[in-house]
Symmetry: C2
Subunit: 327 residues, 2 copies
DNA sequence: GACAGTTTGGCAAACGTTTGCCAAGATCGT
DNA sequence: ACGATCTTGGCAAACGTTTGCCAAACTGTC
């Protein structure tokens, strides 16, 4: 209903100037007598005034918008991160702008420029990829938080898990279970997360007596983790050395590997134990055969926003490693 | 790099006035001599000018923002709609703001007001729920497109499938297969989509000779379709009349029903044929046992944006029913 | 009763645009 | 050579805010 109500509308109704209303709206109550304040507050109520974020942004040089630049929304894990971040931002009075880069650096750059033009308050980069605009922006000191993958150019605030430790935990699990032929499946173009998971896994296996070439490694090309798992599965199950335990660095890779296993008539987890890192809740429903390191994506949003707020206040925010569960 | 470049920067460098630059930026080439145009274009290039969307929005009363108000991002189908819409909007030069209402009317209202304050160009409502602000906004003639669920208050532009026909197609499938005891599982608080799917299914079964009480109906409470399916599954499989074919009005409901079936030791699709309406690509990987009406969510974005553009041009846009595939 | 200090509130500029209007200068027809 | 018309471009207002600064009008003090 309130169509065109601005400070001027309120000011006219309360019989004061625009500046007085503005100050009251912004909580500077000392700048007016109690009587005036009351009159203005009444007027605000009466006409249903709400501050115009655009005018505010123009004047102050920053909007209430926060950009989330994500690599791929079709990935349930990222969708959950997006959803929880959106909720946390709203809670804090901000509005989330969502950009899906499909993992392409040019698109990421286009978005970064567009978002700066929008005077966004901050950037949340989920699984960011290296790109010119990113290093530029990161160097300029813009408020940003990296999620899942660390800043590909330099470092910066990070929210995620201890990927290396997660990989090691899976190695321990395989070893404790008495498995003899462990394997790991990962994307060829690894992010920092993938790499850390794999190297943590390998390092722990070495510590527990495996020789390096006794560990089967299979990577897959492309951006689709489903396809990566499926392709790698072909090589793993087709080779001479059949693994009896496989670490998949993401849920989707595990889905792909499992499909291949099914096609080959293998029993999961009977013939081969499958463990993934992600552990989205959907697994319980559609992939009960899958054991996972569960990453608490649903609380990422709160951590991300807490981090942003620290940065806005000028305080330090290095990294926040969240606890995972091996369920 | 270009930090604070505005029309004024360009104007100063080209030795013309701000207005001239503005007009040229907006393509009004006839308002200046070719020489001037060239000079201005050079200056724009040199300083790396990009129009400030905030200033523009303030002046023109509308931003380049389009609000997507979705019920639940954790649902892969909606995530895909969000992703494809985002891509189509970017293509057309707009920026998507994402709001997740978790199906709650108050939150939806909060968002609608916030988005109007942002002077968004249009609204995309995915699975909208009835709420005061929605009827208000819808009555005010704001540009909006309803997706998946029709406008709960009145009608408006719609993008979706012919839900009733989809339900009927499943009924035909069951009949043709010779199934004798069909069932349907749906959420108690049905959206227009759910209702149409169910009624299309029932109507066709009646046409093909079933009496109304021979058809098993099971609904479930709550917002989680997974849980709805799981709960309904308990009743369906626990009852005396075991169905031999079940229509689940969404993928997630089917996941829930299937889990229950597994727990009861039933073979899907051997003992009972399961068909869902949604058919997200993930099914091929994690639910090969599920037959689906496949809704082309990946092309929703393009249709939605095309619809918005029609509306912006003042042309009519009633509804767009997209073809589904029964795969 | 004069002076300083404090309240209270308004004026006006600024943020980056867009656009109606006006004014020179150029072009043309007669 | 003179008015009519067109071209080219600038001035200034406006969109809704915020905020530095100034000016009344109080309050209190000696």
């Amino acid at each position: 209903m309130p169509e065109d109500v601005s400070l001027a509308t309120v000011a006219a109704r309360a019989g004061v100037s625009v500046s007085t209303v503005s100050r009251i709206v912004n909580g500077e109550m000392r700048r007016a007598s109690p009587a005036t304040v009351a009159r203005v507050l009444d007027a605000i109520e009466a006409v249903g005034y709400r501050p115009n974020p655009v005018g505010r942004a123009l004047k102050s040089g920053q909007s209430q918008l926060v950009a989330m630049i994500a690599a791929n929304l079709d990935n349930p894990a990222m969708a959950t991160i997006a959803s929880s971040t959106e909720a946390a931002l709203r809670e804090a009075g901000y509005v989330m702008v969502l950009c899906d880069t499909h993992d392409r650096p040019e698109l990421q750059d286009e978005y970064l420029y567009a978002m700066r033009a929008q005077m966004v308050r901050g950037y949340v980069l989920v699984a960011a990829v290296a790109s010119p605009a990113l290093s530029e922006l990161s160097a300029s000191g813009a408020p940003m938080v990296f999620v899942t993958r660390r800043n590909p150019s330099g470092n910066g605030p990070f929210v995620g898990i201890d990927d290396s430790a997660a990989g090691a935990a899976v190695a321990d699990h395989f070893a404790d279970l008495g498995r003899r032929a462990p394997a790991v499946v990962f994307p060829r173009l690894g992010s920092s997360a993938s790499r850390d998971r794999v190297s943590g896994f390998l390092a722990r296996l070495r510590e527990r007596g495996w020789s390096d070439d006794a560990i089967i490694r299979a990577d897959g090309e492309g951006r689709s983790h489903l396809q990566i798992g499926y392709d790698a599965g072909a090589r793993i199950f087709g080779g001479r050395d059949r693994p009896d335990a496989i670490l998949c660095v993401s849920d989707q890779i595990a889905y792909g590997v499992n499909r291949r296993a099914l096609e080959r008539g293998l029993k999961i987890p009977g013939d081969c134990e499958l463990v993934s890192i992600d552990g989205t809740p959907l697994n319980q429903w559609v992939a009960p055969w899958l054991k996972s390191i569960e990453i608490p994506y649903a609380i990422y949003g709160a951590e991300i926003v807490a981090g942003l707020q620290l940065i806005w206040r000028g305080e330090a925010f290095g990294e926040r490693l969240l606890p995972y569960k091996f369920g």
